[in-house]
């Protein structure tokens, strides 16, 4: 592991103190003067026509200041596909779809008024299954699909429920399949799950009397929120200010735009007043966005040597009622459809389908955990079919330098090494697994790969400026919702300018009026993108310091170096503290040279190329890949079906470890979140009413401290990323991608049962064990 003075070390979190003292302020902690409380009127039907919305009784409740409906705000919104309106206009599409909203002086008055909004519905047949959704006679969730605005690289199909379809065609799949010695086909299912950030979604807005809008929101993307709000309401970017306080977790659920249009609509009705909406935990489960469901069918053809010669992947995504963001998960899953493997002949289809379920969106992994649930079980199943060791089979077929991805991209020596990650995990498992009385034990392994899914021009910019006392302020607009961006930003800045880290202050409660532009905090892109921008800005600051110091010291710039807050002439002509330089240098006679030292810089991915619209072939569709592998050891109770996870071994090629403690936190956190989706999590709907059956933290379990494996091990390969800051690449999402598939493979190893529908609940395991015993 290469280490700098700061980069590569266990630098403690720079925003830790405010978080352990209770000083950190999240949305609901911010006091807004004379704030009004918002309550949303939501559809009780999964699919219905809206005949009439009568707000007259709601308006008569004491303390009610505004009611807004779809009639008042029939504006479309959506990051990639504008298929949603602020409030339902003619149709509701899931239980929880906003129909109207109320702003009142107290939460009680808001609730009372919301209950008095009378909506006349005409129920329509509801669609809950993507397999039905693609049939020709399926009810249409969006009859107007052909009329929505959409970015050019998303392909909704009018007259169907398909909101996006990416086709990957590489080589000659059909011919190659005919040559295969073995063909294995399987179907895998992933249900919708919820992000469950500890802080629920919340947003507040105020339109002042001059018409300027301020929005305070728990969000991952202040600039994208501003951009989309302006598009939605026809406002100028100059009149909209979006601010983000501390954010209590997001995991993708706070990416794009969420509650902001609702509070904006209400705020426009009551100029001068703040209107705040904070969801209840129940609403968070079904009315905030969820992770998309998936039905995946894979066909693998293998030759006699154990090489995959043909691979078909058919992904049907349950996008729920709206696909504004989810369409891009569909796309990312398409161009990554083969996972960590080189498949020479590929037939891939990634298809997003509307249903009358909660709205699908980004969730840590952005489709990758879901497709890896299928891909990585399939690899094991094929290996077993041909009698090969699953690890050897993976090593024979995995991607690496000189191999080509499903889009035809040639990987080089900078692209990361999944083979080394696999070997690292295999090494950790070299001892035979100890038996345990009364338990069935097994090991499983799964690989992971993910690229940042983002537009080709997704940018991050930063501003570095010095204070009078030599403290360096680093303004970044990515959101640090726990992953550690602020700390990593301080490390890069301190490294580049050779400053004590205490002398660096990261200013990071982004405010679109004051902060440099950043597209979104998604795609595990911040360390990489913001890190690069910081290194560039630091070079510019250094040049300014050296230019002035060169005149002060009478030494050429090339001889100068920065050491602990001083500019030093390595040729011996002396030194000058940067405190004498950062505001300009004053000579003894009083004249001044230079001025306040500050620099802006940006990062935009280099050389990205669009996918071919017919085949998705592209030499560089994405900026980078991060590969990894996880192994798990489990003990199964044959009576109850309960799976205990004893050990998890994770290895990722991160290019360069930037912060040892933070990367362990990302790994442990992702693994345990992966154990949640793998073992226990599923948002269940009543298929008669469309209502969520487990919209609370008792019935929808997430892992607690009791679920943490006794052994959690993480290690890292460091193949430097060519365009990464000091070689680093993203890791935040990748850590939860392979976990469920590794568990399923371990379950098979432990007791010979294969469960293809996530999660691996004790009920399913017990039933499968019974069935196996019955068959003898």
């Amino acid at each position: 592991m290469s280490q700098g003075r700061w980069v590569g070390r266990d630098v403690l979190r720079v925003d830790g103190l405010e978080k352990v003292t209770g000083a950190a302020r999240y949305l609901a902690d911010v006091k807004l003067p004379r704030m009004l409380y918002a309550q949303v009127v939501r559809s009780p039907h999964p699919h219905a026509r809206v005949r009439e919305v009568d707000v007259s009784r709601a308006l008569s409740v004491a303390g009610v200041r505004a009611v807004a409906t779809g009639r008042d705000f029939p504006f479309h919104v959506g990051i990639y596909l504008k298929d949603q309106t602020v409030f339902a206009t003619d149709r509701v599409r899931f239980v929880g779809d906003p129909v109207a909203a109320v702003a009142a002086e107290s939460p009680e008055a808001a609730r009372e008024a919301a209950a008095l909004v009378r909506v006349e519905y005409e129920p329509l047949p509801a669609l809950f299954d993507v397999r039905q959704g693609i049939l020709p006679d399926a009810p249409l969730v969006h009859p107007d699909l052909g009329k929505y605005q959409v970015v050019p690289w998303i392909t909704p199909q009018a007259g169907t429920n398909i909101c996006n379809h990416l086709k990957v065609r590489k080589g000659d799949y059909h011919a190659a399949l005919k040559t295969a010695a073995h063909v294995v086909e399987n179907t895998f299912v992933v249900p919708q799950v919820q992000h469950v950030p500890m802080e629920v979604h919340g947003s507040a807005a105020r339109m002042d009397l001059s018409g300027k809008l301020e929005v305070l929101t728990s969000a991952q993307s202040p600039f994208t929120v501003r951009h989309l709000l302006c598009a939605c309401f026809g406002l100028s970017h100059g009149d909209v200010r979006v601010m983000v306080p501390q954010v209590g977790g997001g995991f993708g659920g706070k990416a794009g735009i969420n509650l902001e249009p609702i509070v904006t609509a209400l705020a426009m009705r009551v100029p001068g007043r703040w209107v705040r909406l904070v969801l209840t935990r129940a609403e968070e489960f079904y009315a905030a966005v969820v992770r998309q469901g998936l039905v995946a069918t894979l066909t693998t053809g293998v030759d006699r040597s154990g090489k995959v010669v043909a691979q078909r992947m058919h992904y049907l995504w349950d996008c729920g009622a709206y696909g504004g963001y989810g369409v891009n998960v569909v796309r990312a899953a398409g161009y990554t459809c083969g996972g960590a493997y080189e498949f020479p002949n590929v037939w891939g289809d990634s298809i997003g389908v509307y249903t009358n379920r909660p709205v699908g969106s980004a969730y840590r992994g952005f489709g990758m955990q879901e497709i890896h649930w299928a891909l990585e079980q399939q690899m094991d199943m094929v290996a077993h079919e041909i009698g090969e060791d699953p690890i050897a089979f993976r090593l024979k077929n995995c991607l690496g330098p000189g191999k080509r991805t499903v889009t035809g991209q040639l990987l080089d020596e900078h692209s990361g090494r999944v083979d080394q990650c696999i070997q690292r995990v295999a090494q950790a498992f070299s001892e035979p697994l100890a038996t345990r009385p009364g338990r069935l034990r097994g090991r499983g392994l799964a690989c992971a790969v993910k690229a940042p899914a983002m537009p080709n021009d997704a940018a991050s910019s930063v501003l570095l400026k010095f204070c009078e006392d030599g403290v360096l302020e680093v303004l970044v607009s990515g959101i640090d919702y726990g992953q550690g961006l602020r700390t990593v930003a301080a490390q890069f800045a301190a490294e580049a300018l050779n400053l004590p880290i205490e002398q660096v202050r990261v200013r990071n409660l982004p405010d679109t009026d004051l902060s440099p532009y950043d597209w979104q905090t998604v795609a595990s892109r911040q360390t990489w993108a913001t890190g690069n921008a910081i290194l560039r800005a630091a070079e510019k600051c250094k040049a300014q310091l050296f230019e002035t110091a060169s005149q002060v010291l009478g030494a050429p710039v090339e001889r100068l170096a920065l050491r602990d807050g001083q500019v030093v002439d390595t040729g011996g002509a002396g030194r000058v503290p940067i405190t004498r330089l950062v505001m300009g240098y004053q000579f003894p006679d009083g004249h001044v040279i230079g001025g306040p030292v500050a620099a802006a810089a940006h990062h935009v991915p280099e050389g990205l190329l669009f996918l071919d619209p017919q085949t998705s072939q592209s030499a560089k569709p994405v900026a980078k890949w991060t590969f990894g592998a996880q192994g798990v050891e489990i003990s199964v109770d044959p009576d109850t079906g309960h799976i205990q996870v004893d050990r998890v071994v994770a290895c990722y090629d991160v290019g360069q470890v930037v912060n040892q403690g933070l990367i362990l936190g990302q790994t442990y956190g992702g693994v345990v979140q992966g154990l949640g989706t793998g073992l226990m999590e599923e948002l269940k709907l009543d298929l008669l009413t469309g209502k969520a059956q487990n919209a609370n933290l008792v019935d929808y379990k997430i892992p607690t401290a009791l679920d943490v494996p006794a052994a959690l091990e993480a290690s890292f390969v460091e193949t430097p990323q060519k365009d990464g800051p000091m070689g680093a690449r993203g890791i935040g999402e990748h850590t939860m991608i392979p976990t469920p598939a590794a568990l399923a493979n371990a379950l098979y190893a432990a007791c010979g049962i294969r469960i293809q529908e996530m999660p691996l609940t004790a009920e399913k395991v017990r039933a499968a064990l019974r069935e196996k015993r019955a068959k003898g």
Partner: protein, 163 residues
């Protein structure tokens, strides 16, 4: 309808008039601007609002403000200050046990309640004690390590500093 109460919060006596259905959490956050205790579910299921009531961890969302009359409440704001942090606060920093920070105050208060009762818990006891405090970021590993480290420091330092 208002109920007059006297409650000691972080060492200071507060005389308040609270509503009959007002929760301790709401009282702390809305009346006293002590927003360290968070509302994560308002149903006693997540632990983000844990404070100490007479030294014992409670979900402040499930306690009525009126019930605190005559009692002593300690919130995260009543622990250490910069330069004089509580061993738990120090350990959470040193072990990188904080990510988004939303669960952190409740987690620390629950751990404090445990350590006041059991200065030398096993890892299993720590796991059980904090199993009602949900954290979605950290995977708990570094939190478990931090609590053990704090326990050790508190034992070493004359049975720890009581709030």
């Amino acid at each position: 309808m208002a109920i007059p109460i006297r409650v000691k919060v972080n060492g200071q006596v507060e005389a308040l008039e609270v509503a009959p259905d007002e929760s301790l959490l709401s009282m702390l956050r809305e009346r006293l601007d002590l927003t360290g205790a968070k509302e994560g579910c308002n149903e006693g299921e997540c632990g983000a609002c844990v404070v100490l009531l007479d030294g014992k961890a409670v979900n402040a969302c499930l306690v009525l403000a009126a019930e605190a009359d005559g009692h002593e409440v300690t919130t995260i704001e009543g622990l250490g200050r910069p330069g004089a942090l509580h061993p738990l606060q120090k350990a959470f920093l040193a072990h990188q046990a904080v990510q988004c920070g939303f669960c952190t105050p409740g987690m620390i208060m629950t751990a404090l309640s445990l350590l006041l009762e059991n200065p030398a818990p096993t890892e299993e006891e720590v796991r059980t004690a904090i199993s009602g405090n949900l954290c979605r970021c950290t995977g708990y590993r570094q939190i478990l390590d931090a609590v053990q480290a704090a326990a050790q420091e508190m034992r070493a330092g004359a049975q720890g500093r009581r709030p």
